[in-house]
């Protein structure tokens, strides 16, 4: 296993490493960084410009520190999935770039995923009170979002981190699903063998009840729940269920969607955490009545009701949602470019002042804070 390079003396070795050529993988310094536009557990995101052709891109750094198993499989998954998914409503991966190795970085390259730049993210737009969406514009946003989901689901990919901050919108009004860092391929159950995916996915506020109850054999409906949360947010302007803990999130879901019982969700009692979590009894489903003050359009309320269905097997899929009357009645979906044209500045959640909750949205990979003793009573109806 001794390569010739290990037998070189250190000086020669360093020179050799510095001069290695990678004809197919360009150096990142062909772009110049302009600003940092995102930060999360996944790493940093920068806005940058191509030095020659001036094209604006987003650079997402691949975090490699503390990696025990080489190049992170999550990054590799994201790359593989993005290479597969080429669609108008999915963020476009241009290439992968590297830094040149020098003594300064201890001869270790850093890698960047290079994306087409999008001016806004939906969380940033919604947190800006000056940005007003008309009903037709909301329809256009949701139609594009569902189109993107329809495409990825029919390619057997789950996004698993749907939230407003991961929905990008270009200045010309084209919506792009982004951040496939948690995405994975899914399969229909083979030989009746249930899948065993991790249920520690999806940012808490957008996480559906089946994941909170420990389901590991889940599928596209987990993304549809997130789409429902995002759709409601188009009117409420802040996430509709902002739980502090998994227990609290479930309580909020029950308060909105009614009690979780086998009568409305057959076999729910078989889920691992069904008996371990506290599920409020006797709650009536009030999705429509609670959202009505915000969402005047009856078709919108009806679609929201179908997206925020507790039982994942009954939750509407992307195809059926796109066929809903909401998208096919006046006012019809209309272009966003005109409205966005009034706002010259980029809007990202990272750059925006914190929204109503006053704290960043908990990321799924992080341990959630412990519940407050009196949580359940004091949180009622807080969001609406």
């Amino acid at each position: 296993m001794a390569t010739s390079i290990t037998s070189m003396n250190p000086k020669d070795r360093e020179k050799f490493l510095e001069e290695l050529e990678f004809p197919f993988c360009d150096e990142v310094n062909k772009y110049e960084k302009m600003a940092k536009i995102g930060q999360g557990t996944f790493g940093e995101v920068f806005k940058a410009r191509h030095k020659k052709n001036k094209k604006i891109v987003a650079l997402k750094k691949v975090l490699m520190e503390n990696e025990k198993e080489g190049f992170p499989i999550t990054a590799l998954r994201e790359i593989r999935i993005l290479q597969l998914l080429k669609h108008e409503n999915v963020v476009n991966l241009i290439e992968i770039c590297r830094t040149k190795v020098t003594q300064l970085n201890k001869f270790k390259s850093t890698f960047y995923l290079v994306f087409d730049f999008c001016e806004h993210d939906l969380a940033g737009l919604l947190s800006n009170a000056n940005v007003k969406f008309s009903l037709g514009e909301i329809k256009k946003v949701m139609q594009q979002l569902l189109n993107g989901l329809y495409f990825i689901h029919s390619n057997k990919i789950l996004h698993r981190d749907m939230k407003a901050a991961n929905v990008l919108i270009t200045k010309s009004g084209v919506l792009k699903l982004a951040d496939f860092g948690l995405a994975r391929a899914f399969s229909l159950n083979k030989n009746n063998q249930p899948n065993r995916y991790t249920n520690r996915v999806v940012t808490l506020w957008y996480r559906p009840a089946e994941l909170l109850l420990g389901e590991r054999n889940y599928g596209p409906p987990v993304d549809m729940w997130g789409a429902g949360c995002i759709m409601a947010e188009m009117w409420t302007r802040s996430p509709i269920m902002q739980g502090n803990t998994e227990q609290h999130q479930l309580t909020l879901i029950c308060q909105l969607c009614g009690s979780i019982v086998p009568e409305i969700w057959p076999d729910v009692e078989k889920l691992e955490l069904y008996n371990k979590m506290e599920l409020p009894k006797g709650q009536k489903r009030k999705v429509k009545e609670r959202l009505k003050p915000y969402v005047k359009d009856p078709y919108a309320c009806d679609l929201l009701d179908k997206l925020l269905t507790l039982d994942p097997s009954k939750r509407v899929d992307a195809d059926a949602a796109l066929n809903h009357d909401f998208f096919w009645t006046d006012p019809m979906p209309c272009e966003l470019s005109k409205m966005l044209g009034q706002h010259g500045q980029s809007m990202f959640e990272f750059l925006a002042p914190p929204r109503r909750a006053g704290r960043p949205q908990p990321h799924p990979a992080l341990p959630q804070p412990k519940p407050h003793p009196s949580a359940d009573s004091s949180y009622q109806d807080r969001v609406f």
């Binding site: 390569t3 990678f22 197919f24 993988c25 025990k68 080489g70 590799l76």
Partner: protein
Amino acid sequence: MDSNMTSNLLSPSSKFRPIIEIATHQGPEAPSPILYKSVNNHHNAQELATRFLFECGVKLKVNPVTSAVAAQIYHRFLDAVNDSSYDPYMIAATALYIASKQQDEPVKIRDLINVVHRTLNRDPEILDLSEEYWNYRDSIVQAELLTMRMINFKTINPDIHLYMLNYLKTLSFWICPAVWEKSPLVKLCWTLLQDFHHSKLVIQYEPQLVALAVIYCGLQLCGIVIPCTTENDQLPWHEAFYKNAKKDEIWNVIENFLALYENDKEMKH
């Protein structure tokens, strides 16, 4: 813990005795061990490295498709570097490591190193967390990044396998069920395709063409004729699947691949 056992553990004779005898662990199909390290010429080592790769794949219990993807990564790397001084076994091990991640059945680096170490050395010494272990580890982690940069992070999909599966599925509706069920065609095609991954030609031809060549070869070997077709058809069955798959082309591919088996005989002697 009883005292007898304790003394046994401490006695030098039983120290580091493998818990499972390796010989009994290998199935009847395991090929006779190749002494990879004693191959003196580098060109042969480069060719043997795919054998090493598949052997490690079997020992790590990865899906055969993952090993095939790894072999394609290996060939692509050698194709891109124009430099033959890289240790082919290290590149093969790295290719397996990358493929296992790409195929979503990641292999632990510790397991990979253990398997690589035993396969290369064929000696029963267990690899401790020694300097040698860390050298292996550094080499693989570095080579992983090197390889991915060389192949430009391109995801390798098992295209040939997928095409072959689809073609075979279609043919299964066409060939008389009695013949189809009795013949070993599908298993034979699968084996041939895995074997073809020992040659770098596997990444040079179009995947459709390789898939059809494998099936064509399999049909010949099983003596199966596609019903209602003759040699002089306007549109032979293989061209119906893929219009570039002319008969001459297919034969060309088959001949090139069958040369592998001749090389194999030479290499063993």
